[in-house]
Amino acid sequence: MTGLGPDTGPAQTTVLTTAGGESLPPSLAVSGTAVPPAPAGAVTGTVWRRFTLRRPLAALIIQRLALSVALLFAVSLMIFGGVEALPGDFATTYLGQSGTPQAVENIRKDLGLDKPVTERYFSWLGGAVQGDFGTSWASRNSVSEQIGKRLGNSLFLAFFAALISVPLAVALGMLAVQYRNRLPDKIINVVSLAAISLPEFFIGYLLILFFAVQLGIATFPATVYDSMGLGERLSAIALPVATLVMVVLAHMMRMTRAAILNVMSSAYVETAELKGLGAFRIIARHAAPNAVAPVINVIALNLAYLVVGVVVVEVVFVYPGMGQYMVDAVTVRDMPVVQACGLIFAAFYIFLNMAADILAILANPRLRHPR
């Protein structure tokens, strides 16, 4: 494996810098209204058009699925290329200073690193399509099995963070609109801006300092393992969940507020006001359904972030999730693991974006027929 490219390949940037949600590459940030053109073809074209008219929702889902598969394929190429372009290869990196040239050569041959790139790519892709991600080069364990465990941990953490943050964010956002430009709105704004301005490791350290070191009431580290009961697990993840809630809350809350305010200035809301409806009723019945699309998109991005982008929180709290797993693998160029993690992360983004689009359309039928 020689002839290596620059330090950071495109795939690496795709996977590792999706931290805030905003920095998502355009190729993945599919928005609700940008429906791609239907597959071309003379006969299938008309059949497809009729199907689109009759069942717009089903057609949309099919299109999205097809697009997702294409995207995943593209991502797999980028990931493979990116890892390939990383300087240094597995054998030298893994053995480090303790390895001799002979041992390095042995490992390379053993893993088939001497084979051409294209051959390795397609044999990997073939396995991945069947759900077999191969074995880790470093630990020689099954990648699928390992990922199953780690992904479970990540989802567990993300689930509880979402369970608290999503309703809280939406409620606070609506509250802020209700009292806009008055004291509650200002407090919510200032606090959420402060929370979003602090880096997540800093929030994490502060929580650890107060609740674990000084008060001694919280569990730290948040390491979870197989033989742990649910109660123990919940107490272990209390601090990381609190950190994540603070990190994602502001983003969703502010988007909710902005989207509703945007709708509030439109003509039909004015009409509702003139009809003499109560403020809360206007927000809930008239403004919210029209504001739901951008809010759902932001929620989806933040949910994806909770699964994919929480490496820092995992490291600070010593939590065995996917992020840490992937970073460890990148460090030693353990390709099967890096690629599998990358694909799964991409799949999460694509799935959540798709779900966001579909939900937005369900909530607001006007989006079903884009002009």
Binding site: Y94, A103, I107, R140, A212, P221, Y225, V316, P320, Q324
Partner: protein, 529 residues
């Protein structure tokens, strides 16, 4: 034993050790040496080891890619794990590095040190209940010296030509004489496994004080006491839990909140903060690891001996130790051996910062313009700061050093051992011979200074086979002088191993062999609640 007491007394006389350390070490050695030693048992009756309890360690240096196979154990956490569940043939003395019997009871070399006979201990059981035999030892050594193997110990095993079981004794034949063979067998990769571990390399079955109970790479592992341990002077706690904590702040928080008993890799910058916690004690040990700036002796402009000398005089070692190591280390003298090694060549003049001499040699070298130094934080902790300090002190001598900061990722494959002038780190080895053979012999795998001197090689190989200690010591002195005055290594400092523990942890042995009490911390300490 009297040698050791003299050694301790010497340390006290030289002002290197206060009374408290002296007592600590004496006690520690009693634990590590033999249970038969009544001397220490009586003098330290108040500190009788306690049994029982659950020991929790928060360690840096593990990863999801770790393998439990000892041949592939490379990380700090796996080093400790292997030491906890397995035993090697030979162990090293914690303060002198002298070889001590472990699974090998005794050994004797042939007069030219090429054929070695080891008596293997009888009646030792593996964790699965099977008795350990000489055949298991032979199989283990064969596995690690196999050219096709992917063992981390392959480098030190290369000189072995045959390993045999002769009437229950282990007979090892070498290509050329090596007086240090017993020390080679202290390498942690070489733990003895049933049938050499070839049947199931990841079963983690050994003869150690603890059995591996669960293993989750990069996350956590647990150990249970081995009820059939062949030694009674170790394995005091009932169970051990190792949690992988790669974040320095997380380790400190876990220790100061009492969630773990022991942490490794304490950053010198945070030591003062950490020791403010009432229940925390600092455990430092001087070792043979060192931070270096390496120059390729065969690449311009570093192929010029005067330029190399100029740079060696242009570095302020004292300042480096104070500012980069926070005082937890010792100044280096441009050769990779310090007084933690047996047969250390004493009395070599300490090189110090001298701007005039540096300027003189720089002018004599005929070189002009800046010298490019590549550095990165992964070379050693504080490497970038150290490079800037070097740049400043060299500037005063009229030498311009240009610093290029390299990405940490890929540093070891793209910069170290590739570029002519870079920052780097070396851990210590069991013997001087191992170190020089691995990094200074012309044909060494990791000759990262391109130091190729036939007279040095000749000296090294004859010293290796020399069984007369006085003669050997003299040879090592000559070799040290060659490296110091002609080599490509600028060696400003040897770093200490800095660990910390709760005060409930007793019996910690400051073992100069390696970090974390040479990996034995979990089997040597006990908990006093």
């Amino acid at each position: 034993m009297s040698d050791y007491k003299n050694y301790l007394a010497d340390q006290v006389r030289m002002g290197k050790m206060n009374r408290r350390d002296f007592m600590g070490r004496a006690l520690a050695a009693g634990v590590a040496l033999s249970s038969a030693s009544t001397l220490f048992a009586t003098s330290a009756a108040a500190q009788e080891p306690k049994r029982g309890g659950h020991l929790k360690l928060g360690l840096e240096g593990g990863s999801a890619t770790d393998s439990i196979d000892p041949a592939k154990a490379t990380s700090q956490v796996m080093f400790l794990a292997v030491r906890t569940w397995g035993d090697t043939l030979v162990e090293t003395h914690p303060t002198t590095r002298a070889p001590l019997p472990a699974l090998a009871e005794s050994w004797s070399p042939s007069p030219d040190a090429t054929v070695w006979t080891f008596k293997i201990r009888k009646g030792v059981q593996f964790h699965d209940g099977k008795e350990m035999t000489t055949d298991d030892v032979v199989a283990t050594l064969k596995r690690h010296s196999d050219e096709k193997a992917e063992s981390g110990a392959l480098g030190v095993m290369k000189s072995i030509t045959s390993v045999e079981n002769k009437d229950g004794d282990l007979v090892v034949t070498l290509a050329s004489g090596n007086a240090d063979l017993p020390q080679i067998f202290t390498d942690y990769h070489l733990v003895i496994q049933p049938n050499g571990g070839t049947d199931n390399p990841t079963a983690a079955i050994g003869t150690g004080a603890y059995k591996l109970a669960s293993f989750d790479a990069g996350v956590r592992m647990t150990f249970e006491k081995n009820p059939n341990d062949w030694r009674s002077d170790r394995g005091y706690v009932d169970s051990i839990e190792v949690i992988n904590m790669n974040d320095a702040t997380a380790r400190i928080a876990a220790l100061s909140s009492g969630q773990v008993h022991f942490i490794n890799r304490v950053d010198p910058k945070t030591v003062s903060l950490l020791t403010r916690a009432p229940n925390v004690q600092l455990l430092t040990t001087s070792g043979g690891g060192h931070y270096v700036f390496i120059m390729h002796c065969d690449t311009a402009p570093f192929d010029n001996a005067d330029l190399r000398m100029a740079l060696k005089y242009a570095i302020d070692r004292e300042e480096m130790v104070t500012r980069i190591l926070g005082g937890y280390g010792k100044v280096g003298n441009d050769f990779p051996i310090n007084d933690t090694y047996a047969l250390f060549p004493e009395g070599i003049e300490q090189r110090t910062y001298d701007a005039d001499k540096a300027a003189f040699h720089f002018k004599k070298s005929g070189h002009s313009g800046p010298v490019l130094l590549r550095t990165s934080e992964v070379a050693f902790p504080g490497a970038v700061d150290a490079s800037v300090l070097f740049q400043e002190s060299a500037k005063k001598a009229g030498i311009e050093i240009e610093i290029k900061r390299e990405p940490g990722d890929g540093y070891w494959s793209n910069v170290w051992n590739v570029q002519p002038f870079s920052a780097s780190y070396w851990g210590s080895r069991a013997t001087q011979d191992q170190f020089y053979s691995g990094a200074y012999l012309s044909t060494a795998d990791w000759n990262d200074t391109r130091f190729k001197r036939p007279e040095f090689d000749k000296l090294l190989i004859s010293a290796r086979a020399e069984l007369d200690e006085a003669k050997r010591k003299d040879m090592y002195r000559q070799m040290a002088m060659m490296v110091r005055d002609d080599g490509g290594t600028i060696l400003p400092m040897f770093n200490d191993f800095v660990n910390a523990s709760s005060k409930a942890v007793k019996g910690y042995v400051s073992d100069i062999g390696n970090d974390m009490s040479n990996g034995y911390v979990a089997t040597r300490v006990w908990l006093d609640a």
